[in-house]
Symmetry: C2
Subunit: 179 residues, 2 copies
DNA sequence: AGCATTAATTATCTTTTGTTAATGCACAGC
DNA sequence: GCTGTGCATTAACAAAAGATAATTAATGCT
């Protein structure tokens, strides 16, 4: 799909910088511009909105995944969502600057950009559609089936907002489902 | 942002084929592959899912907009959503085949692809976030503020599923809001 | 270990939504 | 112009979710 030469791989991997950050470390604040994207080598992160002072979780990511406020990173506009770690994490940091330089040098990396945007779109569409297609209880069951690590590694009040309900309501759903 | 030569513009515009289709004409069936994308010159269209035999509207588009099942069009995989016209429409049809040929000839058009994917992502993110951030009533008000043409041109039972509620509930929301 | 803080569950009550059914309206087709 | 079909509204009841508060469980910190 995207064959790279030895040289290109090297340039690509050298664009990333290793960084360790502690639990609950803010990577991108809401309103600021996401100048970096993060590959999670170890640990966990989340994206969240802030509404009326409340944090509303938009997504969670674990090792093997990329995390950033994508619209802000792609367009370099102020981010509507914040990014933070949930656990002590090892990150491979890719700055927008370096990515742009990479793309300028090697246009092949446009394909990388494109692939990221497409993948993100499809993931998001799956998630968005679940809100018009499924009830909160169905969304909870789907989450268990498709992303069980969320339940094990994310506090429930964060999962609640991710599912679009209150923590109290999530607790009741859990009781209904298990009981 | 994407400067094109005279020649490129010509090649681009020639890739589109004019087509008139009547109201409620199915452009892409759920489960089939979207081989075309549509620029709406006149008329209106919608994307919808089918769940338990029910049609659930995912989005509406009017003149000046593009419509297609994007994930299916981009990746040429079976579409989870159907596409149809809501009014008699004049469409400018771009087949995936022609777009690919265009991109192969003129790599500049990769930027077109990228721009489409990014824009679609951002639109979708705005919509997805409204489900975790806002109540159905707030979503209705936001729709009125941001896309008032929907209310004027789309039947309310379709708007209801678009907002994630039943037609009965939408009717009550409307009464609350206006009364 | 002990204390303080935060999270999760449970309870109670209110509000909203879903469901089903009935009514009134509008529009399409004859 | 009539008639039938489908759509929006209203009503009545059931189910689910929000809000608030109290209790229990877990976690963090010194």
């Amino acid at each position: 799909m995207m064959p790279l030469s030895e040289k290109q791989w090297q340039a690509f991997s050298e664009a990333f910088i290793y960084r360790e950050v502690p639990k609950r470390h803010l990577l991108t604040a809401a309103g600021s511009i996401a100048r970096e994207a993060y590959f999670i080598n170890k640990g966990a992160g989340r994206l969240y909105f802030i509404k009326d002072g409340e944090e509303i979780s938009a997504n969670f990511m674990f090792e093997g995944g990329f995390i950033t406020s994508l619209e802000s990173f792609l367009l370099q506009i102020p981010s509507r969502q914040a990014v933070e770690t949930l656990e002590d994490s090892e990150l491979l940091v890719l700055s927008k600057e370096r990515l742009d330089a990479l793309v300028a040098q090697q246009p092949v990396f446009n394909l990388f950009n494109k692939a990221i945007a497409e993948m993100a779109f499809i993931m998001l569409q799956r998630r968005a559609s679940s809100f018009i297609l499924d009830s909160p209880e169905e969304r909870y069951n789907n989450m268990l089936a498709q992303r069980p690590e969320i339940l094990n590694r994310v506090p429930q009040h964060m999962i609640a907002s991710y599912l679009g309900v209150t923590p109290v309501s999530l607790s009741r759903i859990r009781k209904r489902v298990s009981g």
